[in-house]
Symmetry: C2
Subunit: 502 residues, 2 copies
């Protein structure tokens, strides 16, 4: 971390060592956040908040430092190699977005979140949207200003979206989600109207939590999780975090739902595998960092849905499952059906299945766009929310707690985050289809518990590139096609038509 | 962490908010270090080392920043209150020590440690002092330069000692340790020659590790450890760390030694209780930080030795112990003897008892003083070490692995650290004697498991002051006497004469 500069050291090298420090401060913050969610005792919050603010303010100051800007400019003019040019493109974007927003606005947004989060919790607990509304109002207002500082000439939501998807055009995302909505609304209607009864009874009952933990540890080992670079813990909201040297996963257990902890763990495994596949030698530089949220989510969903919810996987894994829970007397087919049940009356995003999930997202996406543009007033959110649930999913929330208050994202002022969840699933289908083409007998390999070729395909085609390519470029290199919804739609249509005899 | 300054904000307030950021960066580093020792997977080191270097370099830059120096001067001239003057005294000392040492020397010392630590490990494993000698040589040389930068007119060891004991004169420390050496050398000789056999058999055998964990958790609860501000984990080298909001302890288990994990846990409890007693409202400022190493060690040793190894404690705690280990059939007297056995043939500091421990320290203290002054050459360390063990403890190591290579401290270049261990124990005796005077029936209270008065006495007299008073001042306010060895010597003479019929 020495910052000494010699005449021989190029602007690029100096810049990169400044960036490494920034990335290390950020990664240190990641450890503090992991600890807060997994290990920290209840009363630790006041100190932890100050520690995390200190790191995040320092990161911001280091990134927006004049010298960083000057070195960036010098490096850009210094005839960079292709790889260097990619790094500089990423640093330029990070720098501009940070430097254009005044510190006091960053602080105001952070302060607004600190107030909004407890208000949101209370509003949700008491089913009282009024308690949250003024905070949501405040966030909309601040985030419009934020977007205006970054680029006054563009649509504010488009700018906000780039905080999470820096290099995927919003238009394209919008088209993809519209395609998905169109197909799914009618498929789900068909499923609701079909009289197919899935065989899910075998997975009902009480399942000991510590046995579930043993089971998910076995699942992680089966899939190839390297325990010397990671660990599994419990967290109220499962997540994964870390670096290529130390990528940790968390899960949670519900005695009545052993498939829940299993799929949540496989999901986090996918995230961790991505992180672990970033090149060691580029640690703490853009070439050793993940591309963005949708690519990350594509990795988790690929393992969760295309592997974990496949027939092939259950051919291999059912014996392990029944070793832990001998009372489960299910065939592979029954396990497959239980893993792919569509809940047509579920109001809650995080409990949704692979199909309805995306309509939960589309609803949030449409509403937050209108909120930011001013076409929807905060006070009208609950009704607009409920109307859309009725229109797209055929169900109407009876309370705001299980309606527009269910998710925390807006209490952080995060507008533009939700769509990345769906985009990730859609990208997962496209990547998996390409992997199936490239890997001979992938399905048979999964059925025999051989996951090495798939891990390697993902490492070569996605993980190892870090932030070298922009999203569309990365997808096109991996799959030969532009990023689109086609493979996802083929996948869900063929899978669910069969399961539900549509 | 806002750094905005207004005309109304005094130099003192601006300075304090700068210091808060520094302290928070340091505390963040503390979490990373805890995680590394307790949670981190094996392969996480490369990233973790960079994260910790980044934080420690940032801390150093923030502290030695010109603006920090200017604000410090302005605040000093601004007619500070008594409390402010204490804070400024502490910040001035921190600032001077950091600012006087050039960055490249700090980096050289850090690089020398990175090389010395694996070399020390290898030398210890292979019993080959030659492998470590050049690294020790290098550290001696660098640390002499380091001391010269801080103050060229003073004895180098005196300056180095202040890294650990910033405000206790080395002369005084030397006198105290000389007094202790004189008494202990002859006491231990007497014990070696006595034919008293202690009743220790009841605590021999195999003791299940998870049951030991339950036992030490009970011990922590009994002593009053607040679980909502802390946690217990396992670490290869037990330690405690954290802040007043989150002070964690660690321990380790040895199947053949249930008293080992118990006393190690009580020791760390004492450290944590000190940290927890620092005022919440002064978090991340000198008034909310611990005084120094000897005061910290006084708190751990007070609980470990004066409480945990007392007859009264075993009157209360033996039933809890035998609940966990019903096979132990010991009287309170036998438990007391087992807890206070003197190992007159032990060569290893960390396995030493309450008496011989201090001779292990005195030997290191005397040798490192001579090393730094040049009176002892590195190549002569092994023989000088062995000679002193023979002279003070009547035993001579047969290998350097169990001689001068046993401890890691010198591989870090830490000269002046060892004496703080003994000074802490000696201070513990003085503080406990004062607490006994102030608290009616303290012994009976301990025997009935009432520790609240003692905790409160320590909080009022030691913990709550943070760094407000310098060491001698703190001890004198708490005990009415200058810091000296008298109470410690009275304590060990009366205790061990009785146990060993001297």
């Amino acid at each position: 971390m020495a910052q000494s500069s010699t005449e021989a050291e190029s602007a690029y090298d100096q810049l990169l060592s400044k960036y490494k420090r920034i990335a290390n401060v950020e990664n240190a913050g990641g450890i503090l956040s992991w600890d807060q969610q997994v290990m920290m005792p209840d009363e630790g919050t006041p100190a932890r908040s100050q520690q995390m603010s200190a790191l995040s303010a320092l990161r911001h100051e280091l990134l927006t430092d004049d010298e960083f800007g000057e070195l960036l400019e010098a490096a850009e003019e210094d005839d960079p190699t292709e790889e260097q040019a990619a790094v500089l493109r990423e640093l330029r974007r990070d720098y501009e977005r940070a430097a254009r927003v005044p510190n006091d606005l960053v602080e105001k947004i952070s302060a607004a979140s600190s107030e909004a989060i407890p208000a949101w919790k209370q509003a949700k607990a008491e089913d009282d949207f009024e308690k949250f509304a003024p905070h949501l109002e405040k966030h909309v207002e601040l985030k419009r200003k934020y977007a205006e500082h970054i680029d006054p000439d563009r649509d504010a939501y488009e700018v906000l979206f780039e905080d999470y998807e820096p290099c995927l055009p919003l238009d394209q995302a919008e088209d993809i989600l519209a395609d998905v909505r169109e197909v799914l609304v009618s498929m789900i209607e068909d499923i609701r109207e079909s009289d197919t009864e899935l065989a899910v009874d075998s997975f009902e009952g009480e399942f000991d939590e510590s046995e579930q933990e043993e089971l998910v540890r076995d699942a992680l080992s089966t899939l190839g999780y390297p325990w010397d670079r990671g660990r599994l813990d419990t967290a109220p909201h499962p997540f994964s975090s870390g670096t290529q040297f130390d990528a940790r996963v968390t899960t949670r257990y519900d005695e009545s739902d052993p498939l829940g902890s299993l799929f949540s763990t496989i999901h986090e495994f996918g995230h961790a595998l991505y992180t672990l596949g970033l090149p060691d030698e580029h640690y703490a530089t853009p070439l050793g960092e993940d591309r963005n949220l949708s690519v990350h989510e594509s990795q988790s969903r690929l393992w969760e849905n295309h592997v974990g919810r496949s027939r092939a996987f259950w051919q291999h894994f059912l014996p392990t499952f029944t070793e832990h829970f001998p009372e489960v007397d299910a065939s592979v087919e029954e396990a497959y059906e239980a893993a792919n049940q569509v809940y047509d009356d579920n109001l809650i995003r995080v409990e949704a299945d692979e199909l309805t999930y995306h309509l939960h997202i589309v609803i949030r996406f449409e509403l937050e766009r209108e909120l930011v543009s001013g076409d929807l007033e905060v006070e009208d959110v609950p009704e607009a929310w409920n109307d859309k649930y009725e229109e797209y999913l055929g169900i109407r929330p009876e309370t705001d707690s299980e309606g527009c208050l269910q998710d925390i994202h807006w209490a952080y002022g995060n507008f533009g985050y939700f769509p990345t969840y769906s985009l990730g699933s859609i990208m997962a289908a496209q990547l998996f289809a390409a992997a199936e083409e490239d890997i001979d007998g992938l399905d048979e390999k999964i059925a025999s518990g051989e996951f090495g070729d798939l891990r390697e395909w993902l490492r070569e085609n996605v993980h190892q590139h870090g932030r070298q390519y922009e999203t569309n470029d990365l997808v096109k290199r991996a799959t030969g096609e532009d990023f689109a919804a086609d493979d996802f739609l083929d996948y869900v249509e063929s899978k669910y038509s069969e399961i539900y005899d549509l």
